[in-house]
């Protein structure tokens, strides 16, 4: 039986072939098919929202088919309160990014949109798969289109950036795969009836009985894979290069979705699977998160390129996810999930805007952008709003998520009060950027964006403001029940 989730996952990949073949002769056709497919997939995800049962903690809309049963592989997908918000931003950002590509991608449309659709299949698959090898498969499917996006459509240093991105993340995933295979082998012995398995639910039931050293080995190796994607402080160097060189709509995908894969993996496969290991590792992981937060913010302070500054914002903000998740508290984990949702939207908007600004003014240098108010008054207003979202001003969803993360951290140890330095620095570099770009005397002839571009940018703001003012629909009835159940389980098993 093919369900809604399978349709959402495979529809883009299936339509990638006609997009490529029809689009080769007629670029407009590629654009229409590409954007149209992402719109259909977004409509399907709205349908998923409708049939989703709120307030429930377990996996819903599950589908299971044997795939390579002789090796314990099943095609297994499902969503719960942790994956639903990410699934929604995946389809939403894909649609907005595809729409933003309409103007910003200027050559080889057929290849671009075909790869775009393959990427969308991968990213939706990552957030919905419930089998470790299936998860890994989608995880890698995301990687290849991204490599080509950066390498073909990127900026001047695209070749270096794409190869660096590929090698960093592929090596990380190879180490992560070791964790998955070890899990299969170590829980596949005769001590565990039912034979070895890669299924998430089977493993979640078996792992608590696994000895601590083995849990630690798996937790550390899988952490390595997720941490490269997230990214954490010493492994983040691929990120500024990749984000800066990628075309702006692809930066939206990178910062908005690709980084979330790391955060989602950390919560789903690292935190929730290895309670005993978490009880040992959480001080280290939260400290790394803290360092990443402060480091990202400090480096963003000195960035001259507006796109580089936004890229480093991601390092800054993804640190919250790591910190929140490994506090293993309901507030911290809910905050981490909500942070991925709200950061994806805010940073996506900023990246797309930087692309538009670059297209109109020909520069991304913050100092050269002075007086932008005169050229693009509406865009500058939107830049204010997006920066406020990223600064976590109350009223935006980002405020609630960052607040929850810090609350969770403080409930574990008062030492995490130091985390407050990060939002302060974030406000610092954003205000300084606005001071130089927007608050300078207006200059130059008016060169405003098209209305449809403005509308695309406004679309990012709508959920940020709605859930910032009134979060219960997402926080209370989607994220919280699932997080409460899982955190309760792992705390019961000794994670704390």
């Amino acid at each position: 039986m093919i369900g809604l989730l399978s349709i959402a996952i495979f529809l883009p990949a299936v339509l990638a072939a006609p997009t490529f073949l029809l689009g080769r002769k007629n670029p407009k056709m590629a654009k229409i098919l590409g954007v149209g497919t992402t719109a259909i997939v977004f409509a399907i995800s709205i349908l998923i929202l409708v049939v989703f049962q709120y307030g429930q903690a377990g996996f819903q809309l599950s589908e299971s088919l044997p795939w390579a049963g002789s090796f314990g592989l099943n095609y297994k997908v499902g969503i719960d309160g942790i994956s639903l918000p990410l699934l929604m931003i995946a389809t939403f950002l894909s649609l907005l990014s595809a729409a933003g590509s309409w103007d910003q991608i200027t050559f080889r449309h057929a290849e671009y949109y075909a790869l775009f659709l393959i990427f969308e299949t991968g990213i939706i698959g990552v957030f919905t798969s419930l089998n470790l090898i299936l998860f890994y498969l989608f995880w890698e499917i995301v990687l290849i289109p991204m490599f080509f996006f950066i390498g073909i459509w990127g900026g001047p240093r695209r070749k270096y950036a794409s190869l660096k991105f590929l090698i960093f993340t592929y090596s990380g995933s190879a180490v992560m795969l070791f964790g998955f295979l070890a899990l299969y082998a170590w829980t596949g012995t005769s001590a565990y009836p039912g034979g070895p398995s890669f299924d998430y639910d089977v493993l979640a039931a078996r792992i608590p009985n696994l000895a601590l050293p083995l849990q630690l080995a798996v937790a550390i190796t899988t952490f390595a894979g997720f941490a490269v994607k997230l990214p954490i402080f010493p492994l983040h160097t691929w990120l500024p290069d990749a984000h800066v060189e990628a075309p702006a709509p692809v930066s939206v995908l990178l910062a908005g979705l690709l980084l979330k894969m790391g955060g989602y993996g950390l919560i789903r496969y690292n935190l929730l699977l290895f309670p005993k290991a978490v009880s040992v590792l959480w001080p280290y992981f939260t400290t790394i998160g803290l360092i990443t937060m402060i480091y990202g913010a400090s480096v963003a302070l000195v960035a001259r390129d507006i796109k580089r500054m936004i890229a480093l914002t991601s390092v800054n903000h993804m640190g919250y996810v790591l910190l929140g998740a490994f506090t293993a508290t309901v507030a911290g984990v809910s905050g981490a999930v909500f942070q991925m949702f709200s950061h994806g939207l805010a940073v996506g908007m900023l990246f797309l805007m930087s692309g538009y600004i670059h297209e109109r003014t020909g520069t991304r240098n913050i100092d050269e952008l002075k007086g932008l108010r005169g050229k693009m008054p509406q865009t500058v207003s939107l830049l204010f709003l997006a920066s406020m979202a990223a600064m976590a001003v109350p009223g935006f969803a980002n405020f609630i998520s960052e607040y929850l993360v810090i609350q969770g951290a403080l409930s574990v140890s008062y030492l995490f009060a130091i985390a407050i330095v990060a939002p302060a620095l974030t406000v610092g570099y954003f205000l300084w950027m606005l001071r130089r770009v927007a608050m300078t005397p207006p200059e130059g002839p008016k060169n405003e964006l098209h209305l449809h571009s403005i509308l695309i940018l406004v679309a990012f703001l709508v959920p940020l403001l709605i859930f910032g003012v009134y979060p219960p629909p997402i926080l209370g009835s989607v994220i919280a029940p699932t997080v409460e159940k899982w955190v309760g389980t792992i705390v019961g098993l000794g994670a704390r």
């Binding site: 044997p66 795939w67 390579a68 049963g69 002789s70 090796f71 592989l73 090898i133 890994y136 498969l137 890698e140 499917i141 990687l143 290849i144 490599f147 080509f148 390498g151 073909i152 695209r158 070749k159 794409s162 190869l163 590929l166 090698i167 592929y170 090596s171 990380g172 995933s173 190879a174 180490v175 795969l177 070791f178 295979l181 070890a182 299969y184 082998a185 170590w186 596949g188 080995a217 190796t221």
Partner: protein, 476 residues
């Protein structure tokens, strides 16, 4: 049963006949052999032995893989050797060597194994030197011949030692004698094992016996590179699997650790050296050395620990996948070689605009070799590495981790070539014709790569049965 082995042989006498016909007869013979192999696999799964031969699923699996390689190589050579006046002997030698490989995979007796080994090797020397006027081709053949002859000598010595210890050349008889061998014969047994490892190692191209590979692949006709890399090498693995798992595993010697060390060194040297290559064929050669390291992990995993020997099955699966990927990679190289130099990676810059189909298949093949899902190389690697983690030895997990890190590292040179083809600017924008014969082979291979990767279940069951047949042929 004889039909399987006789079919390619039966067509050999055509080789001197009308020259235009030879390659087609050759393809026909190979196709008949492949069909009969598949037919035998479906109809009579129980092993049949006669003399030193044993036809079981393991034999049929390997002959299937080798015949696929041979068919691909023959079809590609149709185009590649078009200008060559000596086509007849070329295809004849190819058939003869293929026959030797199948004999090798089927032999349960060391003397027969040696006959198969020589039958496989001798035609390949001539094939490597086929471009008589090309000094590179001759140098490659000379280097290959000297090392290969040395390895044959070592194998003969090992066989004589084993015969001296056990009084037999049949593998099952050897196994039963060795399992009760006293301490007085132990040194001879160990020496024989070492000699076998070195002897097979030269053909399997494991470090430190790999030096001939890059030169031979670079000097030989490109399609023969495919035949050596995917055919001869895999046949050597077939022989090693038979000898070690059927004959020697009963002997209480820890050769697993030796293979583990050799495997790690081989894959690391292969991957690091591949990164430094400036020639496409040499890059393929070093990548094939690295892949041999992965397959060796199957021999480093004791197979008695689980009901289904996962590592061994993964090794066989990787043999199949590697054979398809590597053959296709060399065929792509042959397609490029029609107009450009394959010994200079710079000629691959911007290739995607000049040869779009070839570039696309090279990209797919390279991602498959790197083990990116959902391509075929991924699942065999996963099985191999998981099998290694299952190993009762405490180093099993580290071996798997080392292999995975290698696998991650290998992406740097595979990605490098893809970068050259897709991101770099071509020196010359003119498009290059892509001969249909090559494209046909490449598309079939690409479809196989995707098909095996997307639905691996039947293939996994096949290699599991083949592995079970191999373990079963010990007769213990």
């Amino acid at each position: 049963m004889f039909g399987l082995l006789a079919t390619p042989a039966g067509f050999l006498h055509f080789r001197k006949s009308k020259l235009g016909l030879a390659p087609f007869v050759c393809i026909l013979g190979l196709a008949i052999a492949l069909v009969s192999t598949i037919w035998l696999g479906f109809t009579s799964p129980s092993p049949v032995s006669f003399g030193g031969f044993q036809v079981d699923l393991f034999t049929l699996f390997f002959s299937g893989v080798l015949l696929i390689v041979a068919i691909f190589v023959t079809i590609a050579s149709l185009q590649y050797m078009r200008e060559d006046p000596n086509k007849g002997p070329f295809f004849g030698l190819l058939l003869l060597s293929t026959l030797g490989m199948i004999v090798l995979a089927a032999s349960m007796d060391l003397i027969l194994l040696y006959v198969g080994w020589e039958l496989m090797s001798i035609p390949t020397y001539a094939l490597t030197a086929f471009r008589k006027k090309d000094p590179n081709s001759n140098e490659a053949a000379m280097k290959f011949f000297v090392l290969s002859a040395l390895s044959s000598a070592l194998i003969v010595y090992a066989i004589s030692l084993i015969f001296g210890v056990t009084g037999s050349t049949g593998l099952t008889a050897i196994a039963s004698t060795l399992s009760t061998a006293g301490p007085d014969v132990r040194p001879f047994g160990v020496l024989a094992i070492v000699l076998f490892i070195v002897g097979f190692g030269v053909k399997m191209a494991v470090v430190p016996f790999h030096m001939w590979i890059p030169d031979a692949f670079e000097g030989a006709p490109v399609t023969i590179g495919a035949f050596l890399a995917a055919g001869a090498k895999m046949a050597a693995f077939a022989a090693a699997f038979r000898v070690f798992i059927v004959g020697i595993s009963a002997f209480n010697v820890d050769f697993y650790s030796t293979f583990a060390i050799v495997a790690v060194v081989t894959m690391s040297v292969g991957n690091v050296a591949a990164l430094m290559q400036k020639s496409f064929t040499r890059l393929l050669a070093y990548s094939s050395i690295a892949q041999a390291g992965y397959i060796l992990m199957a021999l480093a995993t004791p197979f008695t620990t689980t009901n289904v020997p996962l590592g061994l099955a993964g090794g066989l699966f990787h043999v199949l996948n590697y054979a398809i990927l590597k053959t296709a990679a060399f065929v792509a190289a042959a397609a490029v070689a029609t107009k450009l130099s394959v010994t200079d990676l710079n000629s691959f810059n911007g290739l995607s605009r000049r040869m779009p189909q070839t570039s696309l298949s090279i990209a797919v093949i390279f991602l498959g070799l790197a083990g990116v899902p959902p391509l075929n190389g991924f699942f065999s690697k996963v099985m191999l590495f998981t099998g290694s983690i299952y190993s009762p030895y405490s180093w099993g997990g580290y071996l798997a981790l080392a292999a995975l890190i290698n696998s991650g590292f290998s992406m740097s040179y595979y990605g490098w070539v893809i970068k050259r083809m897709y991101f770099d600017e071509p020196g010359d924008e003119s498009s290059i014709p892509e001969p249909r014969i090559y494209m046909a082979v490449l598309w079939v291979a690409t479809i196989l790569i995707f098909a095996i990767g997307l639905y691996p279940d039947p293939w996994i069951r096949l290699v599991q049965s083949a592995a079970a047949a191999l373990v079963g042929s010990r007769g213990l």
